[in-house]
């Protein structure tokens, strides 16, 4: 697999694989991230796994950049770090979702434009397990993929100024839950009553890169009681 290592500003190093996103690639990036956290324990402030990248950030003047670059290239070449951690593969995080036009302003529009019933949309969205490829955009926001081709929908032309917390959304082949109220351009097809980001939890974000997520439809009554339980 082709890759490149280069700077990310004056305090960062970036490893990028020239490959399409895939769970195996993400696991490889996660394993290099873990090794880097040990190898450069005294230098690293942060490290971020993206779809095909790992970016390391270090404290000023603490890292021998050439040595770290070589180390990253060795890691990238090593095939042994490709193993998927069996523990992470087994657990599936199930998120309840209410799919109803009252909480999903784009649901009927998508049904109309794709000539699908709302039930068919629910079955498609709940029928697949999703892999967590990246986090970001907002605290706890997690990019999940891929949704069935039949559901793929482009983003809104202009983002909504306010998307409510818990909104379940799709854009192209991706899906996500907005953990907190924020602006957003993805299409809203449901609402999830589970708290996905809380400063009182450790870690603060419920989902992290490498997780597997499944959505499960719930009735309006169950949705309300789950919300009230928070």
């Amino acid at each position: 697999m082709r890759f490149e290592v280069g700077p990310a500003g004056d305090l960062g190093l970036r490893l990028m694989f020239a490959a399409s996103p895939a769970p195996a690639l993400t696991h490889k990036l996660l394993s290099i991230q873990k090794a880097a956290q040990q190898q450069f324990a005294n230098s690293l402030t942060d490290s971020v796994v993206g779809y095909s990248t790992l970016t390391l950030f270090y404290r000023p003047l603490t890292l021998e950049r050439n040595r770290a670059t070589e180390w990253l290239m060795e890691q990238a070449e090593a095939a042994s770090s490709f193993d998927i951690d069996p523990a992470s593969r087994d657990e599936i995080i199930v998120l309840p979702v209410l799919y109803h036009p009252s909480v999903a302003p784009d649901l009927e529009w998508i049904a109309d434009s794709k000539s699908l019933s709302i039930d068919a949309i629910i079955n498609l969205h709940c029928g697949a397990d999703y892999f967590a490829y990246a986090t970001g955009f907002a605290p706890g926001f997690c990019y999940l993929g891929e949704i069935p081709q039949q559901l793929a929908t482009p983003r809104l032309g202009a983002p909504r100024p306010l998307v409510p917390a818990g909104a379940v959304a799709i854009a192209d082949r991706q899906t996500a839950v907005y953990p907190c109220e924020s602006p957003g351009g993805w299409r809203l097809i449901g609402s999830c009553p589970t708290t996905l980001f809380s400063l009182n939890s450790a870690p603060a974000a419920r989902l992290s890169v490498g997780d597997t997520v499944r959505f499960q439809p719930v009735s309006e009554a169950d949705y309300q009681s789950l919300r009230n339980a928070l």
Binding site: G6, P7, A8, G9, D10, L11, G12, R14, M16, P21, T45, D46, S47, V48, V49, G50, Y51, S52, T53, T55, F57, P60, L61, R65, A134, T135, G136, F137, A138, P139, G140, F141, Y143, C180, S182, L199, P203, A204, A205, S208, V209
Partner: protein, 312 residues
């Protein structure tokens, strides 16, 4: 309880310290003072520890009253400062009587100023820092911008070591601000005329700027790159959206993004950019990571020397 009442909270005012690195993977930006040398110089002059917080405010408008006697100093963008109506030098440590009126009025250069109060601003730390990220609603006082009528808790005031060193880091007006950047990310994939255009022309700072980033304008930069897979951003990242106007990402940036990036402005120049007002002319200049290290080392050395000299 020692506290500071904000009669006029001013513009884009927040509680800031050195920020909360280590949370990017959770989507939480590093936050922290936009001008970290200004923060550091105030902390030093009040004998504070490095993790104590100050009040960051933009364009110099602020009025506040402490409940108890306290020492203050204002750093960063220069302001016209008065205590109970009496004009005083902002960069000198002053003692304010209980209920005394601290008033700052519009400055003429720079953007962010810092009011440091003896004992530090003692809002509850969140994820290891008192810094506010208003977009995320994290830290500071209830996670947001400060408002008229807010009251900030203050820490216990230790005996301050008064070591005034005016002129350590005053925002200076510059004709054209040089933004040195380390090329990276998609720089190699940009058309060569775009790589040249980025460095040959002079851009100016637009009014589209805040703690997340600052938009520049000039001749539009064409990237010929479609949307990318989301990846980590970094401090100073030069992001080029479809309209061709580069955005330099700063402390409260989104932690990942999918726009093409030409590289990143070195962190030392980021704080000078943060202190630049709309209309400021800027130029980008490529440097190697090794050159960036030597800039960093010199700045570090300069600061430490200044601080040590000031301590005597």
């Amino acid at each position: 309880m020692r506290a500071l009442a904000l009669l006029r909270a001013g513009i884009a005012s927040t509680v800031q310290d050195t920020g909360r690195p280590g949370r990017l993977q959770e989507g939480i930006p590093p936050a922290g003072a936009m001008d970290w040398l200004a923060l550091k110089s105030g902390q030093f002059r009040l004998g504070h520890r490095e993790d104590e917080a100050a009040l960051e405010f933009a364009y110099g408008e602020l009025q506040a009253r402490p409940t108890h006697e306290c020492t203050i100093v204002v750093t960063g963008a220069p302001v016209n400062l008065s205590i109970d109506g009496e004009p005083v030098d902002p960069e000198t440590v002053h003692t304010v009587p209980p209920g005394g009126l601290i008033a700052a009025s519009a400055s003429t250069s720079g953007v962010y100023s810092y009011l440091h109060v003896g004992g530090g601003i003692d809002t509850t730390p969140c994820l290891g820092s008192r810094s506010t990220s208003p977009r995320e609603g994290i830290g500071g006082l209830n996670g947001g911008y400060l408002r008229n009528g807010d009251t900030l808790p203050l820490g216990d005031q230790n005996q301050p070591e008064v070591a005034a060193d005016p002129g350590l880091i005053r925002a200076r007006e510059r004709d054209v601000l040089l933004l040195r950047f380390v090329p990276g990310f998609q720089f190699g994939a940009l058309p060569s005329h775009t790589q040249r255009s980025l460095q040959e022309q002079t851009f100016w700072v637009t009014s589209k700027g805040n703690r997340m980033g600052i938009t520049m304008k000039g001749l539009p930069l064409k990237t010929k790159i479609q949307t990318l897979l989301s990846e980590a951003t970094c401090q100073g990242a030069i992001q080029i959206p479809a309209d061709g106007n580069p955005i330099v990402l700063l402390n409260d940036r989104q932690t990942v993004g999918g726009y093409p990036k030409a590289g990143a402005v070195i962190t030392g120049d980021c704080q000078r950019l943060a202190q630049s007002r709309p209309g400021q002319r800027v130029r980008f200049a490529e440097i190697s990571p090794e050159e960036a290290d030597s800039v960093r080392w010199l700045e570090h050395h300069y600061t430490e020397t200044k601080l040590q000299l000031g301590q005597r």
